[in-house]
């Protein structure tokens, strides 16, 4: 590990701030209320249910904290959080039951 140069760091921070805003602004800012074609809208309806599970799945199967080794407490916590969410439709209940499973199993197995 080497010391990060301050100038480089500020270039990265500013570049990322501008770039991230551009990514977020492109559609909502530039397309605005111009109509979008139905086929595009049909795909956009599934953005959330596709991207969010795709973001989470690798983190559940290969957690960074264990160096990428599949881990029983984390898998179980994920399964509980998802199941409770599907059954109860209550996000808070799902978070707490998932966290309780994680800490419970980390304590018992650790």
């Amino acid at each position: 590990m080497t010391q990060i140069d301050a100038t480089t760091l500020w270039i990265v921070i500013i570049g990322l701030a501008v770039g991230s805003f551009a990514l977020r602004f492109t559609f909502i800012g530039l397309v605005g209320d111009r109509p979008m074609p139905p086929w595009l809208l049909r795909h956009l309806r599934y953005t959330a249910v596709a991207i969010i599970p795709a973001l989470i799945a690798p983190l559940v199967v290969w957690p960074t904290a264990t160096g990428g080794q599949p881990d029983v407490p984390r898998m179980a916590a994920a399964a509980v959080a998802l199941s409770v969410g599907v059954i109860t439709r209550n996000v808070i209940a799902a978070i707490f039951s998932g966290a309780a499973t994680l800490y419970g199993l980390l304590y018992l197995l650790g």
Partner: protein, 240 residues
């Protein structure tokens, strides 16, 4: 709901967005710790969190900076990790696109996983909402996490390495988003989209710069759209 002013939708958004403090606090703290370990001072760390406002991209950039990666590649990789927010922006456009430009610019800045996931569920559930009501809800949903994200980054930077690994803060993000996914499964097409996205995400995990996420996301979106068309056609056949 009897009271349907934009103000009441702001409070509803705020209530619905509150669970995400369980993501913002641990994740922000982790970033603060990581940034301090990488040698950033408090001002640099806070500026990073407050202006970029995208956890995964921030972690990616810092990791690559530590590995002495050329600046252009650091920027390109971190932005690739963040490309999903462009998809969120596109997905929100049919709902918020006719709001005034300054509101859309502010909304763009706070388009993150949490505000998007929360709002898209509400907008689809209640199609009669007006654009000002939607905007109010959207800003409400991100209000609890914005200050806490920055505050948690600060705490992480100050506390540094004193936080034990046994707290398993790394797993706050997966648990909270998994909890969000359950209520999103409104139709069979949504389930198909999620399953395809998960399978593809696990298959393409070795693709560099986190581009696997976009491949998996696109696959899930196509699967969902195709499933919707198929189910619609089957419904029509049954009717005729």
């Amino acid at each position: 709901m009897a009271d349907t002013t934009p103000k009441s939708y702001f409070w509803k958004g705020l209530r619905d967005g509150t669970p995400f403090i369980f993501v913002a606090i641990p994740f922000g703290t982790l970033f603060g710790v990581f940034a301090t370990e990488a040698g950033l001072n408090i001002i640099q760390t806070i500026a990073f969190s407050a202006t970029v406002f995208a956890g995964a991209a921030q972690f990616t950039a810092l990791q690559l900076l530590q590995d002495n990666t050329p600046t252009a590649i650091v920027l390109a990789s971190a932005l690739a990790v963040n490309l999903r927010v462009a998809m969120y922006s596109a997905s929100l456009t049919p709902f918020l696109g006719s709001a005034p430009l300054w509101q859309r610019a502010c909304a763009a800045y706070v388009t993150v996983d949490q505000s998007y996931a929360c709002s898209i569920v509400q907008f689809e559930k209640d199609p009669k909402m007006t654009v000002p009501q939607r905007m109010a809800y959207f800003f409400g949903s991100v209000t609890p996490i914005t200050p806490l994200w920055i505050l948690a980054t600060y705490l992480g930077a100050v506390l540094g390495t004193q936080i034990p690994d046994s707290w398993a803060l790394d797993f706050a993000l997966p648990i909270t988003f998994l909890a969000m996914i359950g209520p999103m499964m409104r139709t069979l097409a949504h389930v198909v989209a999620a399953l395809v996205a998960i399978i593809v995400a696990l298959l393409v995990v070795a693709v560099p710069f986190n581009l696997g996420l976009l491949i998996a996301g696109a696959a899930g979106m196509i699967a969902g759209a195709q499933a919707e068309l198929m189910f619609e056609r089957r419904l029509e056949q049954r009717r005729s």
